[in-house]
């Protein structure tokens, strides 16, 4: 059976390569990442043992890196499912090699992000209190529910379109056939199955968009439901969602570019994909700027004293460097790069994406800390410097992300093979049909 499949050389063989060819560098990378993660675990256990005192958080600044990273990671997770759902829904044909990666980002990063509130707990041993004595009235539990829902939905949404590919892997044979057989759910690519699958994906597509939007809206509610200056703002819901998609696209492009490079997928991930996504990123950058501008304009114009304290602190205080860094990273750099075709090359886009990811992280920092550092009641200004523990846990989070991706790419194709095939086989015709349906009918048909 094995030999049979090996003989049939697929056109998309390049996409299977990461699964079947395991280089030394892979083991080295996994080992290195596991080491980092192990170390992070030790640091975390130390934190549990001694208490949150090992972090840099303090009395007015009661939230620090963990919450920043929570918002950041969950924001990144919007890369995926949301983008892929929108692209699928809008039948953008160039989506085909992108969606899988986007969805994987979502699943992994969401898992990391979702853990952050638990890391942030002073009593992680009592986390079950949320189940025995929780209050759904608390925005924190809205989060728990919506992140659970989003995680479930996005895993399902990652899984269902992967079934045909899993079946392919199963049919190719190999070491883990039983595993692929278990996961393929008896897919044989019959018409009925195809109909069932596409119907399910269609329903999911529609469902996942509001869930994804709800997740980041709800995360913004954590802040905006309080009365704190700089947080208590109605714009926060959409602002966070825009920011999330923004950072998500950037993260997606970073991942795409690195996979393109290391697995030689230049044939699949072409410049045009990056150009399209780059345009999207540019739009999001402008949108982000618009939201940021509105947010601060209303604050400055209203000039409520405590609001002004926070805003001035951001503009000129200890955190000014982060604020202006955020503006540069999120607006100036991407706009300059993406607005000119000359710069809109793959390295250019990579720079823009990295700058956006950094910028969005700074934005989260700028939202969480300055508001807390400026208590209203004539008290002293707070100061927050993250400790070694927090940095380690941040790096550990990134390591889990990379490891997750590596491991995923070891088991599953990182680009949806059947969708590419489908694209080759059917979509040219279909698109032609579709496009002609958009076009005005020939003049003579009007009577």
């Amino acid at each position: 059976m094995n030999e049979e499949t090996k003989n049939t050389v697929d056109i998309d063989e390049a996409l299977y390569r990461p699964i079947y060819e395991t280089g030394k560098s892979f083991y080295f990378a996994v080992g290195f990442l596991l080491f980092i993660i192990g170390f992070t675990l030790v640091v975390y256990i130390r934190q549990v043992y001694y208490g949150l005192g090992v972090t840099g958080m303090n009395q007015p600044v009661t939230w620090g890196f963990y919450i920043v990273n929570f918002v950041f990671f969950v924001g990144i997770s919007h890369a995926g499912t949301l983008i892929s759902a929108i692209l699928r829904l809008s039948k953008a044909e160039w989506r085909r090699p992108i969606t899988r990666m986007a969805e994987v980002i979502t699943a992994i990063v969401l898992a990391i992000g979702g853990l952050h509130p638990i890391i942030d707990l002073g009593r992680p041993d009592r986390v079950l209190n949320i189940f025995t004595a929780g209050r759904l009235q608390s925005p924190l539990l809205w989060d728990v529910t919506s992140i659970t829902a989003y995680f479930t939905a996005s895993t399902v949404y990652l899984y269902l379109p992967m079934i045909p590919d899993i079946a392919k892997l199963r049919d190719r044979g190999g070491k883990m056939v039983w595993f692929y057989e278990f996961l393929s759910w008896g897919w044989h690519g019959t018409e009925h199955q195809k109909k069932v699958l596409s119907r399910a994906i269609n329903i999911l597509m529609v469902m996942v968009i509001p869930i994804a939007i709800s997740v980041h809206t709800v995360i913004s509610y954590i802040f905006s439901m309080t009365l704190q200056p700089g947080w208590h703002s109605t714009i926060f819901g959409p602002y966070f969602v825009v920011g999330a998609i923004f950072s998500g696209i950037a993260a997606l492009m970073i991942v795409m570019i690195s996979f393109r490079k290391y697995f030689h997928l230049e044939n699949y991930l072409k410049l045009v994909h990056f150009r399209h996504l780059g345009t999207l990123l540019l739009i999001m950058s402008l949108l982000w700027f618009y939201f940021t501008f509105s947010e601060y304009l209303t604050g400055v114009f209203g000039a409520e004293p405590h609001e002004m304290d926070v805003i001035f602190y951001k503009f000129t205080g200890t955190y000014a460097i982060f604020f202006w860094g955020m503006v540069v990273c999120n607006f100036l750099i991407p706009v300059v790069i993406l607005a000119f075709k000359k710069f809109k090359t793959i390295p250019g886009i990579l720079i823009a994406s990295i700058s956006v990811v950094i910028g969005m992280w700074l934005e989260r920092l700028n939202i969480v800390i300055p508001s807390l550092a400026n208590p209203r009641m004539g008290l002293d200004m707070g100061m927050y410097t993250p400790s070694f523990t927090e940095w380690t846990l941040f790096i550990g989070g990134l390591a889990v992300f990379v490891l997750g991706f590596l491991v995923f790419s070891k088991f599953f194709p990182i680009i949806s093979i059947w969708e590419i095939e489908e694209g080759r086989k059917e979509s040219v015709k279909e698109v032609e049909k579709r496009v002609t349906s958009y076009l005005p009918d020939p003049a003579n048909s009007v009577e």
């Binding site: 189940f131 025995t132 004595a133 929780g134 209050r135 759904l136 009235q137 539990l141 809205w142 529910t145 919506s146 659970t148 829902a149 479930t152 939905a153 399902v156 269902l160 079934i163 039983w178 057989e181 278990f182 759910w185 008896g186 897919w187 044989h188 019959t190 009925h192 199955q193 069932v196 699958l197 399910a200 329903i203 999911l204 469902m207 869930i211």
Partner: protein, 91 residues
Amino acid sequence: MKTINNELRDKIIFAAQLVSISLIWLLVIGIIFWISNLIYLSVDLKDSPGISIGISLVAIPVFITLASILTYVFVGFHREKKKHLNTDSGN
């Protein structure tokens, strides 16, 4: 011997698939149970139960839908597979 083994293997895999599907439902039921417990608590403690009920009205259907989609796909696939197998054996 090989076929028997294959049969058993298929059975085990099918059982595992069934288990995974039921685990999804277990999760959903667990969440529903949890949310209703929280609603009970908020009513008991007169702690603005309206909000909890509102959230549960959104959250519970979402989870049920998700699980239903999965079940739908699973059942759909297998109904076809059985047909497929039947026709196979028929041949």
